[in-house]
Amino acid sequence: MTLPEETITVPAVEMQDIVLRFPGVLANDHVNFTIYPGEIHALLGENGAGKSTLMNVLTGLYKPQSGEIRIHGKKVSFNSPRDAIAHGIGMVHQHFMLVENQTVTENVLIGLDTPRFTLNLKKYDQEISNLAEQFGIHIDPTAKIWQLSVGEQQRVEILKILYRGATILIMDEPTAVLAPQEADELIETLKEMAAQGKSIAFISHKLTEVQHVADKLTVLRRGRATAERMDLKDYTRESLASLMVGREVIFNLHKCEQTAGREVLRLEDVSALNNKNLPALRNVDLALHEGEILGIAGVAGNGQSELVEVITGLRPCAGRIWLEGKDIANKPPSFSIRQGLAHIPEDRIGVGSAPNLSLTSNIIMKRYDQQPVSQKWQLNYVAADSLADGLKTEYDIQAPNVHTHARKLSGGNLQKLILARELSSAPRMVVAMQPTRGLDVGAIESVQQLLLNQREQGCAILLVSEDLDELLSLSDRIAVMYEGQVVGVICSQDFDLTQIGLMMTGTLTQDLPENARVEETPTEGTPSSFDEVLDNLRNYEESAQAAQPGEIEPSSESAEPLEESPQPEPPTPPEEPPLNLTEKERVLRKVLGEKYKQGDEE
């Protein structure tokens, strides 16, 4: 794909000696970055290494303190994104920059000089439709962004750039939100665009992916380039990792063989709505045992966060959730905490900690009412401090002292603080959502090891992650979620990336090859046809109303030890040909979405 360099005289982008300083941080320290036309150039580095910052300089969002940018040989100075767009530079941001309640076309047209005044959307719908076809992108230009899947939203982002006639595309961790197959499609599209002469900068911290996509490579570490314009084939995964992290990284974790014990958590027919009042969980059944890590795989936004919130008591739901024989559905979080539930939330700053409080205060949040911290009606701060001090040493939290504010901790240390609070109370059940996201490789290692230690101690762990490698290496079983349903549960001996990927994109277990060992396939839990999905949706409101939390007898069976691995049931044979659920569900959302929006739960 790369043209021989001697035939190209001028690089598309040449960034030289870029220096960008934020208050207290040197984000880019004399970094060089060059792309030639028709080239995919990977920019690799850990979170906070300065990759996105460097690219934001190129898109005109940040102005560097020093350094030069040349586009197609001409020296430029960008004062705003508008200038960069005028030079054919477009960026797909990691967090999509889309206006949710506007249509695809409207999103594409923002910031353009034409149409001059009147929008005349019909004409532009057509134009954008044509452009999309040209690059093999399928999208309805009149759809509102909130109706689209994440993959489709990404296509809108790409369309936005293409419509502006960009020749230089910057992709900021584009595959982070995609299922493996969607990611493959994206990579094909990118290669196609490179073949048409476009230059692509590809930001990533996934080593394998970079090896798969890119022609050239630049590695950043703490704002400095540790490798510049290198040929990718000269590197192995290990050597790339050490370039990124600055030391040898071991890719092995200590995970002992053990068998799962009795059942700790059971979800029965759990359904819930999301923040937009649309169904986010549909009839989920799950069981979790002692000493077992159950991984939840799925593309972001398929009900994982709602699942976690429902279990931790943060979101109302229909159905039953048994924890140690008590129904914790629709109970306050304090109730499940008393049953031994620990929660490691996705949002460390907003949910997991109180950033403006000290380490001590954050540590005692779950035990302020217990001895020795609680002394009748007042807090014993001496005891609290010594408790926090002990945990700070035990969990190796890097902070000056226990009175330091939590917000001053780095991501890894903040996560260790949360783990210290949650795990030190000897939980029976841990719900961890994205526990390693955004951490550096070293911190990831220690967080994962802490989870494995809990597993050894007989704790049941629900691990939600978008990092499939993490799920594969930690989990005993993996449940795959798609559009709010558990489409299948796979045991560790049968882990297969392709199959998990297929399930993540909504391929029902029935359609999977024979080796898909599905543990639990409740017939009503996984609707096999469009009509059933529709029926479930219709019944949803009634069931939500009917399920009033009351005094419920603990389930007798849940106290009994269960078989270590339940017999795999033969999947129900599909009576109808496999349906394209994605398309139909989108229609459903359009139809029912309004109804759900109007339905007020006063």
Binding site: V99, I110, F117, T118
Partner: protein, 321 residues
Amino acid sequence: MNWIEIFRSGISTGTVLLIASIGEILTERAGIQNLGVEGMMLVGAMAGFKVAFTTGNVWLGLLAAIAAGGLLSLAHALVTIHFQADQTVSGLSLTFLGTGLALVLGDGLTGQTGPVIPRASIPLLSQIPYLGPVAFADHNLLVYFGYLLVPVVTYFINKTRPGLHLRAVGENPAAADTLGVNIYRTRYLYTFIGGCFAGLAGAAISVAIAPGWYSNLTVNGQGWIAVALVIFAHWNPWRAAMGGYLFGILRRFTLDLQGPRILFGLANPFFYNTNLVFFLQMTPYILTVIALIWGSSAARKKRIGAPAALGTPYQRGERGL
């Protein structure tokens, strides 16, 4: 009771609310909440009356009112956009600032009479039975301006390029910024326009609907009703117009209820018991409070279409950009 007259005068007083709330809708659609409408209206009412009174030209008065409201709103814009201060606090202070300024500068105007906006009837339309005399006969020109304002602003917001940018800035400023829309300029502009409309609404009272300057009783809380109306109207000009006229009619109706001795064949309680009148006068404000409480829950705001970035300052380079 003269229903024609109640509706007629309701539309007339409702125009004030309509103009003010449409200005606030434009401001809030850009993501800036300006609670200082009351203050800006008072300054507008004072400036409009003062200039019209001293120059004898009512149109100069209107211009002065627009300029005064707009200038005052720039203080809010500076504090909330550039210095990223809390918009609620800034808006509240703007009310105090505006009220104070208007009272000081309006000293000595009380009891004077100045020129007023001319009245006109619309030919043909005013002949329509019931509707004609209510909506198209012998109204001041600002009422007709209000009729035009609603469709024009709706079209502007939904069907034009600047309107698209306005919505984008209020919904997702980061997205608009990456596409080259100048967030600060857009937000300044619409805060200013909102202020201009508030100033005009103030002048609509002092030189047209209830001519004269009666210190802070001139506006008498209508700025707050306008702010509530924006929520009540789900940021939609048509609904704001409906709400504005409804409030106007309600105000006039509560006034008329106090007049007759016999009401619907019974002794009028409001005529014989003056204490009950206070409750009657409270109704528009109670409705305002209800609308504000109803609309202030974040979840509901989301559902009824509040601009997603309403009340949040924008700064480049924050997390997620």
